[in-house]
């Protein structure tokens, strides 16, 4: 299990023990963390699981592919350098302790 801390736009925090190999989206959605819609269910087709990952961990994440980068071009909330789609970030042990901030809006 990998500890990930989700912080919603209103500041509320949820720390989850996430199974290795699950996506950040699956972890957050299945546990009812608000602030992620994930309309397409993790197919990288809707851009409603936009999140901001802890910059200190950026180099521990597999880089976004072209499909994800294309979807990130139209996120509703501001796209930043640490913007990712939560469905495309698979949790690995190196991410233990990582914080993920969620934007105010997804759609």
């Amino acid at each position: 299990m990998v500890k990930i801390n989700f912080i919603e736009a209103d500041g509320s925090e949820t720390e989850l023990d996430v199974q290795d190999g699950w996506s950040l989206m699956q972890a957050a959605v299945s546990n009812g963390v608000e602030g992620i819609e994930a309309e397409c269910g993790g197919s990288c087709c809707c851009a409603t699981c936009h999140c901001y990952v802890d910059e200190a961990y950026l180099d521990k994440l597999e880089a976004a592919n072209d499909k994800e980068l294309g979807m990130l071009e139209e996120t509703v909330a501001e796209r930043k350098d640490n913007s990712r789609l939560a469905c495309q970030v698979k949790v690995t042990p190196e991410m233990d302790g990582m914080t993920v901030h969620l934007p105010e809006v997804q759609s």
Binding site: S30, E39, C40, S43, D66, K67, M71, E74
Partner: protein, 405 residues
């Protein structure tokens, strides 16, 4: 105690309706009834990643059980509603209960169409609609050598792609003269025929399954109407769906190939809403729009919940869909049927391009292959006014986003 809002159908739309009611500050009780035995789950992966065993069953579940408790949503699985009595505001369930309601949201979805041909119900003939369907197919695929897919639409072609990845011999039998004819343009159809053929699928267009050949109750093959016999130890039917509208019909609601609703999910009964696959949305020109998609389920769920709470938030966005086949993602926004001009943006040879469709000078749809950026731009463009022309659409040096507004 006041009566609950009852949501019939615990798929993606039903779940969304329940949650949207809570987000819109509905404080009364919410009863979510599902006829499957599972917690609400994502259906799209059933013919894609999950079928290929790229994700686990738990990962399909949208919300774990404690979330329902936290949101005060009473979820009952394995319960089928058999009758709605609008006069008395009650529902009759298969377990003998009668439940009173304040409002009902029908989210019963659709069921796979079958074919009126011989032996269609023998062992080894499947459709893909539910988790149980896919679990059965997954198990049987272990020993399957020859698969015949009847129907060259999204589901059939996704099934074919998965089976080829698993090394099966695959034939696709399509009645029309091109693949996915209902939703994509002939150019995209041709492109996909090539993709499938290059992956070793035998694609038969203008071909009709005449009967299923069976022996001892098990499938042996498919006999085409021209007499040719295709050997098969598995047959998957992907020949479309039918809306589950019977409950509504029997309750006297207007149905036209789907429960007739407006853009807020309102039916002909003021206390009954319907959302998603089971509906046919009546448009302002009097025509009916039937969509079978996640977006249609989720967005109508939000619109209906908002209408119940007195908020005016209709579902008006351009429809979008997607399909994953091999390493190609096709994303569609808008409906391209009836276009008079189509232009290509990008290079067909690069396997990453989009077609932009125009009708009388206006953009009506965009189909993108491995080109998610164009797709997202397309959603923005079709979401409101835009000044895109066929010339600018095909000019790669032109920024599509400059045409918004």
């Amino acid at each position: 105690m006041s009566r609950p809002i009852v949501i019939i159908g615990a798929g993606q739309g039903g779940l969304q309706a329940a949650e949207s009611l809570r987000s819109a500050k509905f404080e009364g009780s919410i009863l979510l009834l599902g006829d499957e035995k599972y917690l609400p789950y994502n259906r799209p992966p059933l013919s894609k990643a999950f079928l290929l065993r790229e994700c686990e069953r738990d990962q399909l579940t949208i919300r774990q059980a404690p979330v329902f408790e936290k949101k005060r949503i009473t979820l009952e699985t394995g319960v089928r509603v058999e009758k709605i009595d609008p006069g008395n505001h009650t529902l009759m369930c298969n377990d003998g209960r009668t439940i009173g309601y304040e409002k009902v949201i029908i989210a019963t979805g659709s069921r796979a169409r079958s074919l009126p041909i011989a032996n269609v119900d023998v062992e080894g003939v499947h459709c893909i609609r539910t988790l149980d369907d896919t679990l059965k197919i997954q198990a049987e695929l272990e020993t399957t050598k020859n698969l015949v897919v009847v129907g060259g639409g999204f589901i059939g072609l996704e099934m074919a792609a998965v089976a080829r990845k698993l090394g099966k011999v695959v034939t696709v039998v399509e009645f029309a003269d091109r693949l996915m004819a209902r939703v994509v343009s002939p150019m995209i159809s041709d492109y996909y025929k090539n993709i499938h053929e290059s992956h070793g699928v035998d694609v038969r267009l203008n071909a009709q399954a005449g009967e299923i050949i069976a022996k001892d109750g098990c499938v042996q093959g498919v006999k085409l109407s021209d007499g040719e016999e295709l050997p098969a130890d598995m047959v998957v039917l992907g020949v479309g769906v039918r809306p589950n509208q019977e409950l509504a019909q029997e309750a006297g609601l207007i149905c036209e190939g789907g429960i007739v609703i407006d853009h807020k999910g309102r039916t002909s009964d003021p206390d009954i809403y319907a959302i998603g696959d089971c509906t046919a949305q009546k448009l302002s020109d009097g025509s009916f729009l039937r969509l079978e998609s996640v977006q249609n389920a989720v967005e109508l769920a939000k619109a209906a919940a908002n209408d119940i709470m007195g908020n005016d938030k209709p579902f008006v966005a351009a429809p979008w869909f997607w399909s994953d086949q091999y390493d190609v993602t096709l994303q569609m926004v808008g409906l391209s049927g009836g276009y008079d001009t189509a232009v290509l943006r990008g290079d067909l040879g690069s396997a990453s391009f989009s077609y932009f469709y125009f009708k009388q000078g206006s953009l009506i749809a965009v189909d993108s292959l491995n080109q998610s950026s164009d797709h997202m731009a397309g959603r923005k463009l079709l979401g409101g006014a835009n000044s895109l022309t066929p010339d600018t659409a095909q000019d790669l040096s032109y920024n599509l986003r400059d045409a918004i507004g």
